[in-house]
Amino acid sequence: MTASTLETHSTPSIRRYFGWSTDHKVIGIQYLVTTFGFFLLGGALAILIRTELFNPGTDLFNGTEYNRLMTNHGSVMLFLWIIPVLAGLGNYLVPLMIGARDMAFPRMNALSFWLLFVAGIVMIGSFFVGAAESGWTAYVPLSIEAPSGQTLWAVSVILLGTSSMLGAINFLTTIVTMRTEGMAFMRLPLFVWSMIATSLLALLATPVLTVGLVLIALDRVVGTVFFSVAQGGDPILWQNLFWFYSHPAVYIMILPAMGIVSEVLPVFSRKPIFGYTMIAFSSIAISLLGITVWAHHMFTSGMDPRLRVPFMISSMIIAVPTGVKIFSWLATVWEGKLRFTTPMLFALGFISMFLIGGITGIFLASIPVDLHVHDSYFTVAHLHFVLFGGSVFAVYAGLYYWYPKITGRMYDERLGKGHFWLTFVGTNLTYLPMFLAGLLGMPRRVADYAPEFTLVNQLASVGALLLAVSTVPFLYNVVVSWATGPKAADNPWGAKTLEWQTTSPPPEHNFVELPVVTGMPYDFGEPLGVPAVAPAGAGD
């Protein structure tokens, strides 16, 4: 970084958030705010779904309308919320955490965000021309026959994939080449390790989905026959292409979440993270194993029976590095001096509910059990425990934890805790009954169900309402605290990672003087470890 780029200090204006900016912090906030908007949209679709399902029969929506709600709920939540909100946190945090002044490719970074923005507009636009209605999985031939909204859906996801790949290249280049003095790989914060693992996965897997979507778009628009059975095409090909990306995508959605939890727990336990090396390597292990498991989504597809077994084994092995993380977190908390701030509550909530998602994943990996519960509400419950109980809880933990850094203000703890408890109860009330519905025989993606499933569906619908209500204290807290909350100190939590060693919010190029790292990022505890950062000026 040359001196000339440091001279561009000007009074920050709110207007810069509404246009092209190459500052990773502005882009990070653009990501966070935009994706939260998509989260609310996806949530509104979920409320419509749960309202329809409150009673058996098709009361509010017909089958086509229901399929559109369900398809876009899934697509918005996965492609426009969880994946990009984590990219947004990564954008804001990675340069700060490694002691860099920006991302490696600031203009490409801005492009990643604006691709997401356009993709979101395209997906919402598809609602007005007959939205996609074949599920977020878009299985052929159903997705080939669907109305024109499906083409817009494919275009939108292709744009999002491109955004994701550009982001992954940017993160990897930044982390490899722009670490400040003393920031060895084995001193990287665990969130940064999780972004390495995620970016590797995004680079390997996303192009495969993009190719598949191009084939779907060609079949639909140009009349090619890649997936047409009558002309020798193969519908199973799409499932392979789709899941080759979309199972790793689950790790793209959970690894950064695990990274957030690994940041929050030591700070509020006042203890070093337990087993730093194993947690860092388990992220890489999950990432590498993650590309070998995709066909466990296809056990019922009539694939070669012998091929199912290796996929069962690889899927189950993922439980091992995942278990390592959970046990390491428990050991981190053990004998700590726990401070139950809102981010800590969400991080502990993450462990308790992600555990349920993880354990039920073993059931789904076991072929004989999967043949019963595949495509049932059991699967719906499992994936929501991973992605809502897991990813969304970690995102909330991260938003509260870094709120003082990002805004320079403190949020209201009481509202935060109220938000946590509403969300925690709502999550369990919504998704636990779904396990039972699936085991007893309720298929997923149905607008109507047999009367025997009424009670479990009503519980889930009440829970969903609670989840909708839970966003109110959060939004109020975020907006009002940003305007009138007490000023935050530079390091209100007493954390050791570099983003806390600069002002809140950080100056335009992050650090007045680049820090020099002398220790581990989690050197908490008695006797006190070496300070993680050399005093200002020591690096000269």
């Binding site: 017909n62 089958g63 086509t64 399929n67 209605e133 299985y139 031939p141 159903l142 519908p235 336990s269 006042r270 070093p272 087993g275 730093y276 194993m278 019922t300 597809s301 009539g302 077994v309 084994i313 092995i317 439980a319 091992v320 278990g323 390592v324 959970i326 046990f327 428990l330 050991a331 908390v333 053990w334 004998e335 700590g336 001096k337 726990l338 139950f340 502990l348 462990i351 555990l355 354990i359 039920t360 073993i362 059931f363 076991s366 004989p368 043949l371 019963h372 049932s376 396990f435 039972l436 085991l439 007893l440 025989g441 109507d448 047999a450 050197d523 908490f524 505890g525 008695e526 006190l528």
Partner: protein
């Protein structure tokens, strides 16, 4: 300090084991099991549920204990203990779960092999998925039905395919399913073990009528099954009864409303009171001609607001002429 950790974990582990045993032995979360492979799966499931309970109670217990025991006391602004890790412990909690998943994988594989062992000379039933109805063909008996009748204790081989999009043939009480994929026949062996009537559901999203793509499997004694075959071989002599039967057999019930035939599908227009209006719908076509054309060429006249490409267009090749006559007469009389 270390001693307390060992003590707490040991106590929790014993509690977890007891909970796991009680859950595996007493909790049933599955529907009534009606097939031999389902019985094997149920045993595997209950063992898994027990193991899952042990892990769940242990981890949540440790979490709850930590939250209660290690909360910061008021006024204590000190740090926790500076423990960075413990190699022995980390190896231990990598190795034990690894061992556990190996055991689960081996047990799952054995259950799978036993459950899918090929039966000797099974009775073949072809399962055909269509938007939005199931068709069951009995090639050995030369008949077709919209309900699945099976003799109890007889091995059955389903040969499953689809004529349009992907469906999935799921009998929850058999604890298994298999996708119906166009252009491919998937085999799937089941030996029904309990007499009863059980639902058949479609588990793969197949379009607007997905939720209504249901049928039933009637597992009955071999004698009752033979009697059903006899009945099916000849249509009832009463034309209304015959028409009602054909209405179900050709899957019309999946998409249309017609109380007389027990049909409540919502994808296509209601056929209630059809006889009275069929003759006036299209100028120049009397009721019978209109109904005949609407069955054989579904796109000829689309009732406003309904989907154009959803009704199968292959009835001309599937319905023999005398059965078509019976069906048209039946519909004209509604």
């Amino acid at each position: 300090m270390k001693g307390r950790a060992v003590l707490v974990v040991s106590i929790l582990f014993v509690v977890a084991l007891v909970c796991g045993y009680l859950v595996a032995a007493n909790v049933n979360l599955l529907p009534e099991v009606a097939s031999t492979r389902g019985e094997l799966m149920q045993r595997l499931f209950n063992y898994l549920l027990g193991a899952a309970t042990v892990v769940f109670v242990l981890v949540e217990g440790l979490l709850a204990y930590s939250v209660l025991r290690f909360r910061r006391r008021p006024g204590d602004d000190g740090e926790g203990a500076a423990i960075h890790g413990n190699t022995g412990l980390e190896v231990f909690w990598t190795a034990i779960p690894a061992l556990l998943v190996v055991v689960i994988a081996v047990y799952s594989f054995r259950t799978l092999s036993a459950g899918e062992a090929a039966s000797e000379r099974p009775m073949v039933v072809e399962v055909i998925g269509r938007q939005f109805a199931w068709e069951f063909r009995y090639p050995e008996q030369g008949l077709t039905s919209s309900d699945l009748h099976l003799p109890v204790g007889t091995p059955v081989r389903f040969e499953i395919t689809s004529e349009d999009v992907i469906h999935s043939f799921w009998v929850p009480n058999f604890l298994a399913k298999r996708d119906a994929t166009p252009g491919q026949v998937s085999e799937f062996d089941v030996t029904p073990s309990e007499v009863g009537v059980f639902p058949v559901r479609c588990a793969e999203l197949c379009g607007p009528g997905h939720a209504a793509m249901v049928s039933q499997v009637i597992v009955e004694s071999p004698e009752a099954f033979e009697a059903w075959i006899e009945r099916m071989a000849n249509l009832p002599s009463d034309p209304t009864e015959a028409g009602r039967l054909l209405f179900g057999r050709y899957g019309c019930t999946g998409c249309h409303v017609l109380a007389d035939a027990g049909a409540s599908g919502l994808v296509g227009p209601s056929l209630e009171g059809l006889g009275a209006r069929a003759g006036e719908t299209v100028p120049g076509l009397d009721a019978e001609a209109y109904l005949r054309q609407s069955i054989l060429e579904p796109k000829a006249h689309i009732v406003p607001t309904f989907l154009e490409n959803i009704m199968p267009a292959d009835f001309a090749s599937r319905i023999p002429p005398q059965e078509l006559d019976l069906l048209v007469t039946y519909l004209a009389g509604r």
